[in-house]
């Protein structure tokens, strides 16, 4: 189970690292090398984004990665095959992240079944609130996968509790308003929000959006269980190539 894995890891490390990549960006070979470097550098779990043509919750960096992956011929089938390969090669949990239409068109039950069959452990679907997610939740339960739900600073306490009642594995706390890839102000303001998140659930908390470097992660130590690095590695790969990913990750903790 994802949650017990995380709890075990948390006994050894002060904070866990989850990274996010877009499958097929820049190429599937590169995606594989990036994952390999990340796992070697000690990443604890990973989000694999299946590219979608309309990623509304993503900012420019991840948006472009989605578009380029699609232009380069990424398909859902290729992503599933690729995910199977990495899930069997590397010994950390992998999650799918994608927008609901990808699941819907594939067939929700069929997609979730395929996710389980490929050896992944859960999914994040940012445009699927639990109110719309009956089929998805049923399938996730059937295949024993963790549906990851999202808290945001605009979620009232009651709603956080409601969301947490559907979540498994951990809760993904969005650090601020806005899309991915924009700087976050890691200040005491975040504290109050994170305290609200803690109160709403006993699940481990991940914090994402705008986490870029060691300073950010130092701030998050003791405040959340998992730090999520998304756009920053994509930026790095764009600028300096796949080769620098391992060093970057190693220096984060």
């Amino acid at each position: 189970m994802l949650e017990s894995y995380l709890r075990k890891r948390l006994k050894e490390k002060e904070i866990l690292l989850m990274t996010h990549i877009v499958l097929g960006y820049p190429t599937f070979e590169d995606s594989f090398s990036i994952i390999e470097a990340m796992v070697k550098a000690g990443v604890d779990l990973m989000e694999l984004q299946i590219p979608f043509s309309e990623p509304v919750a993503d900012g420019p960096v991840i948006l472009h990665a989605n578009q380029k992956a699609l232009a380069g011929g990424a398909t859902v089938k290729k992503c599933l095959d690729f995910a199977k390969n990495v899930a069997h090669t590397f010994d950390i949990p992998f999650l799918f992240m994608s927008y609901y239409n990808i699941l819907f068109k594939y067939g929700v039950d069929r997609f979730v079944g395929a996710t389980a069959e490929r050896g992944l452990q859960g999914a994040i679907v940012p445009d699927l609130p639990p109110e719309e997610g009956e089929d998805y939740l049923k399938a996730m339960q059937k295949y024993n996968l963790a549906p990851i739900f999202i808290f945001s600073p605009t979620s009232p306490d009651e709603r956080m509790k409601y969301l947490a009642s559907f979540g498994q594995g951990f809760i993904y706390c969005v650090a601020r308003k806005g899309v991915t890839g924009v700087d976050t102000n890691f200040s005491e303001q975040l504290e109050e929000y994170l305290a609200r998140c803690r109160k709403a659930t006993n699940l481990p908390l991940a914090l994402g959006f705008g986490v870029k470097n060691k300073t950010d992660i130092d701030f998050l130590k003791g405040r959340v269980d998992i730090a999520v690095i998304g756009s920053q590695t994509i930026r790095l790969v764009d600028k300096e190539g796949v080769g620098v990913v391992g060093e970057f990750i190693k220096n984060l903790r």
Partner: protein, 408 residues
């Protein structure tokens, strides 16, 4: 949120968590306004003093004679301030923005009509305004960009994706998830997450409310058929809504672009290239591939060039209450040309789809039949596209001279 805006499985509110509270507030504000009898009164007062409501229906005597079938009437939404039905929706949402105490509005625009209407409303109500417009559409509809900027709006060119309407919607959502505390997103059509389809249709229903009374007064009976073009579906919903319970055939005309078999079209409800999906926050028919990736669309009319369609219309298609037809770019230009010559009316390229659909069927109807066409907007904005379609030599000469002047 209790009512999630479903129409037999179409619609819903597929929202990222960050926007849920914003939508809850919007749903509540809209419900309160709807239940407040003064609200609609206030709305129609504004529309009759700031815009030109009620817009008339015009009997098209020459077109009627030309086709020799049904009597043709035209509902004149082109006579609204800013030249299209978009004004109806925008002024209504503007009143809600005031109720919510927000100070900034954002909008997507394809043809530029909705952008101009929103910028106008913002100027009038004193809101800050940002308009997202696909780069391709900015080139197609440059005069509207000029007016939006004059009206004080910031026009942001969208360079992502297919660089047209759907991409502008995505960018507007990206702005909104950051600035929702001060900002309302004035979605321009009857699409998107609940409550937008219902809310936009509600404001646009002023078209059909008027038209029903007007035609009954003039002809003493209801029309046989009503035609409207369908982009996102707001002008169609607007005119159809008041006739849903009447024995009136309702016909929506989508953009067939270069032909349904060319793949270059924007036909969602009558083409095999579309299927049910979930994007931009709602469930409907989308032009998408088997993986669920949205396809490129094409129409000569920027305002119809969209991958999705109103979930309410998708529902009315499934129940058979509304019939959907298509018109190609070429048929549209011909219909436009004929309407200009015969009636001295200049429909927008979007609206000309409704005319083209009606013209195909008018001759087969009898003299006792009445058809009503919704002229959703006026075509002046399309001068560059229409001039190109007609390959107008005088205009081309003028543009060249003008360009030289600027070089001088």
């Amino acid at each position: 949120m209790i009512d999630r805006g479903y129409y037999d499985g179409f619609g819903g509110a597929y929202l990222p968590e960050i926007l849920v509270a914003t939508f809850d507030e919007l749903v509540e504000t809209f419900q309160e306004a709807k239940n407040d009898p003064e609200f609609w009164q206030n709305y129609t007062d504004i529309m009759s003093t700031y815009s030109c409501r009620p817009t008339p229906i015009t009997f098209a005597a020459n077109l009627t004679k030309h086709f020799g079938g049904a009597s043709i009437y035209i509902k004149r939404e082109d006579l609204n301030h800013t030249g299209a039905h978009k004004a109806n929706n925008v002024m209504g949402q503007g009143l809600l923005v005031k109720r919510m105490g927000k100070t900034r509005v954002i909008a997507e625009t394809g043809a530029g009509q909705h952008g101009v209407a929103t910028a106008t409303m913002a100027a009038r109500f004193g809101f800050k305004c940002t308009i997202y417009m696909g780069e391709v559409d900015m080139r197609r509809q440059r005069p509207n960009v000029f007016w939006m900027e004059r009206l004080g709006a910031e026009v942001v060119p969208v360079q992502e994706g297919t660089r047209i309407l759907k991409d502008a919607i995505n960018e507007a959502f990206r702005d909104w998830v950051t600035n929702m505390d001060t900002t309302h997103y004035v979605l321009g059509t009857a699409c998107g997450p609940h409550p937008f389809p219902e809310m936009v249709s509600y404001f646009q229903s002023i078209i059909g409310k008027e038209a029903r009374k007007q035609i009954l007064k003039k002809e003493g009976k209801l029309p046989t058929r009503i035609y409207a073009c369908v982009g996102g579906g707001s002008n169609a919903m607007g005119i159809f809504k008041s006739f849903l319970d009447d024995p009136v055939e309702l016909v929506g005309v989508e953009a067939a672009g270069k032909g349904l078999s060319s793949g270059q079209h924007a036909t969602r409800l009558s083409s095999e290239d579309a299927s049910i999906g979930v994007a931009q926050g709602y469930k409907t028919y989308f032009l998408q591939d088997n993986d669920g990736q949205m396809k490129e669309t094409h129409s000569i009319a920027a305002g119809l060039d969209y991958v999705g369609v109103s979930p309410i219309l998708a529902h009315l298609k499934e129940t058979g209450r509304v019939r959907f037809e298509t018109a190609t770019d070429k048929e549209v230009v011909d219909a436009l040309s004929l309407t200009i010559k015969k009636e001295g009316l200049i429909p927008a390229l979007e609206s000309a789809h409704a005319f083209a659909g009606a013209f195909k069927e008018a001759p087969a109807l009898s003299g006792d039949d009445i058809i009503l066409i919704n002229q959703s907007g006026r075509g002046d904005k399309d001068i560059f596209t229409i001039a190109d379609a007609f390959a107008d030599p005088g205009w081309q000469e003028f543009i060249k001279e003008k360009a030289e002047e600027y070089h001088a």
